[in-house]
């Protein structure tokens, strides 16, 4: 039927536009077009073959999302570890205690993803904190704020990409903790800004960003290049 074929084309065109925007590789596109199922052979996660060995791909489907979360948790954990290890960080004793807890939460998140991913886990990333002054409370707080807001936005934006409801629940368990962190850090910078209009819109909604948007920001702090 002529008209029905037009409708199918409309769907595929919609999909294609969305996929092209997301820069999905050909193998994944075929999957979306119905040529394969989620169980097809997964690309070896790790080095992008033929390219710079310090560029990694995250895999496919939910593996890709979990590795994306793992990457961000690696970044956050590395940052807070360095903050606590820096003896002249300028934080008060109470703040050190709070940051130590946050550090431990991020390590817990990081190791959880590492274990959950098993063989599919990406490697430990090389970070680049050269733009951060670990002797300055202001620099630490500003960076922490940026990381936590980014983490919330990343998890909020990744939810719709997850296929397995168990993984969605796990992401949900983590994002609210990141939001608690974010609120605290914002209040340490300026009390009362835990959920101000720089992050919450007129409908009372937090931000959500695509993985591409998040990684573009996170890449500044990573020597390893991540390809979503």
């Amino acid at each position: 039927m002529e008209k029905l074929k037009n409708a199918e084309e409309l769907v595929l065109a919609e999909n294609r536009d969305r996929l092209l925007q997301a820069k999905v590789q050909r193998r994944s596109f075929l999957k979306y077009a119905g040529a394969g199922l989620a169980g097809i052979a997964v690309v070896a996660v790790g080095c992008d073959k033929g390219d710079n060995p310090d560029v990694i791909s995250l895999g496919e489907d939910d593996t890709r999302i979990l590795n994306y979360a793992y990457a961000l948790e690696q970044l956050e954990a590395a940052f807070y570890i360095k903050v606590i290890d820096s003896t002249s960080n300028g934080l008060s004793a109470d703040e050190v205690a709070l940051f130590t807890s946050i550090r431990d939460h991020e390590i817990a998140h990081r190791e959880f993803f590492k274990n959950a991913l098993g063989k599919m886990a990406i490697k430990s990333l090389d970070v680049d904190f050269s733009s951060i002054n670990f002797s300055s409370r202001d620099s630490i707080i500003d960076t922490a704020k940026a990381f936590e807001d980014l983490g919330v936005s990343a998890y909020n934006g990744a939810g719709r990409l997850i296929k397995n409801p168990d993984y969605l629940l796990l992401a949900g368990k983590i994002v609210s903790v990141e939001a608690r962190h974010a609120a605290l850090i914002r209040d340490l910078k300026s009390n009362g800004t835990f959920a101000d209009s720089t992050i919450i819109n007129a409908q009372g909604l937090d931000t959500s960003m695509s993985p591409e948007q998040v990684l573009a920001i996170a890449q500044k702090y990573l020597k390893t290049e991540i390809r979503f």
Binding site: K3, A7, D104, Y155, I162, S176, H181
Partner: protein, 276 residues
């Protein structure tokens, strides 16, 4: 390309596609007005593919509406609670930073009410009306004792986080619109609220952190224990978090690192005593 005849043909193949949306004329209006700034506020959901058969839809319109009606009830409760706290007894919340914070939180809850009402309408249904609430029969001095007020605030915010978290799965795989992302974007705001309220209580001497440790109520006590039960998990998806991979992660940190969901039934058991 004739959009109208394509829509007609789709209806022949997928007869209830428009039952899942407002009547056809409104659905087309949503299509054509989407993206214009004026329309955005009244059409909160980004419309995705209306062609259910293109994807395996894993939820249903009725499940999605259930979630939003449930969330709306919780937001009515919170908005009403903060409205009363600010206006019934103007001396309750100290002026300055405390009043500023509670006003911020109230404004968000009121915005959530409107957002959920608009969302439910966009999905073709009628938002439930606001119940009458009674807080004093459960906490007689909630609007005369500032610490009681902060304790109940903490309880409501932490409940809200757990409630939304428990419903996320019901919003997955809805092909007509992305209903999950807006819910996640509200869920994290409630967590920000909870964090700040806990800091306010800590500033007044409560033994409490911005996050939930074990099933600790943060010094409030038995009246709110149901809200914190189940938060003491230290294993996630079969992975033990305490001391994971040889790291010095205490069981306190392990339980703090993950917030836990509540089922709708558990939340209603907590909230129903406040409905008059």
């Amino acid at each position: 390309m004739n959009l109208y005849s394509i829509i007609e043909e789709i209806e022949k193949v997928d007869a209830d596609v428009y039952e899942r949306l407002s009547p056809r004329r409104n659905a087309l209006k949503s299509f054509t007005s989407f993206g214009s700034k004026v329309a955005m506020a009244a059409i909160p959901l980004a419309l995705g593919s209306v062609f259910k058969k293109a994807y395996g839809q894993t939820t249903s319109l009725s499940k999605v509406l259930d979630v939003f009606q449930f969330a709306l009830t919780l937001e009515y409760l919170e908005a009403d609670f903060y409205d009363k706290a600010l206006n019934l007894n103007p001396l309750l919340v100290p002026s300055g930073a405390p009043r500023g914070a509670i006003t911020t939180i109230y404004n968000h809850e009121a915005a959530h009410v409107k957002f959920l009402q608009d969302t439910i309408k966009q999905l073709g249904s009628t938002p439930g009306s606001k119940p009458v609430f009674n807080y004093i029969r459960n906490f007689p001095d909630v609007f005369t004792n500032y610490d009681t007020f902060l304790a109940v605030s903490q309880a409501f915010e932490d409940t809200g986080v757990r409630a939304y978290k428990g419903q996320a799965g019901n919003l997955m795989g809805f092909s007509a619109a992305d209903v999950l992302t807006p819910a996640l974007n509200i869920h994290s705001v409630e967590a920000r609220h909870a964090s700040h309220i806990r800091q306010m209580r800590k500033a007044r001497g409560a033994a409490v952190k911005p996050w939930i440790t074990g099933n600790d109520t943060g010094g409030i006590g038995a009246a709110v224990q149901a809200i914190y039960n189940g938060e003491d998990l230290d294993t996630q998806a079969g992975v033990k978090i305490t001391g994971i991979n040889g790291m010095s992660i205490s069981s306190a940190a392990a339980t703090e690192a993950f917030d836990e969901p509540l089922t709708k039934e558990q939340v209603l058991a907590i909230v129903t005593p406040f409905i008059a």
